[in-house]
Symmetry: C2
Subunit: 134 residues, 2 copies
């Protein structure tokens, strides 16, 4: 049995009631590191939580996103991927195998004056071919 204590704490801090499903979804986001789609989360967890519905996965991810625990990733055009919030980093998507890698990237440098803009989030997506496929 895993230890979910730090997740319980994290959810409570954000004012989210740590139901079993929520904890499991967050745990999967945090551990899998695969930037999963809703479907991938659902497929994985529904094997253990047999009554789980996709609606709940959607609801939960929406809640996490609003409360700043998770982030929507616009990687493919047709589907959303999610990841647990961590430090700034970019993503690399392989066009051949569709794997997604994390990439360390220096902080963005804006060449315009952006002092009037409020910035909440920065996403970097690099597309190409990964070493395995090359």
């Amino acid at each position: 049995m895993k230890n979910y204590d730090h997740i319980l704490k994290k959810l409570k801090e954000k004012g989210i009631r740590p139901s079993y499903i929520r904890v499991r979804i967050y745990s999967y986001l945090e551990e899998s590191r695969i930037h999963p789609t809703v479907d991938e989360i659902y497929e994985f967890l529904s094997k253990e939580i047999l009554t789980l519905s996709k609606t709940t996965v959607y609801n939960t991810l929406k809640l996490f996103t609003e409360k700043g625990l998770a982030q929507q990733l616009n990687i493919e055009g047709n589907e959303l991927r999610y990841e647990a919030i961590r430090g700034f980093h970019g993503h690399f998507k392989c066009e051949k195998c569709n794997s997604i890698y994390d990439m360390k990237i220096s902080q963005l440098e804006f060449e315009d004056d952006i002092s009037e803009f409020v910035i909440n989030e920065e996403q970097v997506l690099v597309t190409g071919v990964c070493p395995k496929c090359n």
Copy 2:
């Protein structure tokens, strides 16, 4: 009547037969600078090209993307936006009014060794609140 000569030339260079519809779609991408969705392109052009179908817009944009004339932008989760290929730049999306701005950004600096990766494309998406809405 607009001068479409440079577009005709561009399409021909890429081996694309410059039908009227294709020229108009490219022209709209190039001029509007609004990073339009398929729907926006369709709504705009179908006022003048009454028989235009969305399928054709989809087909054309797919063709442009494959031939390197246009780029798919993953800005919202649920829909694709397109822009004519220009130099590297980022996009800012306002959470309140949903406008999309272009942003000048310095070249990305990777902190990992990426020599084994082939990089074809880089997208930067910044989210927040724009001056008008702030």
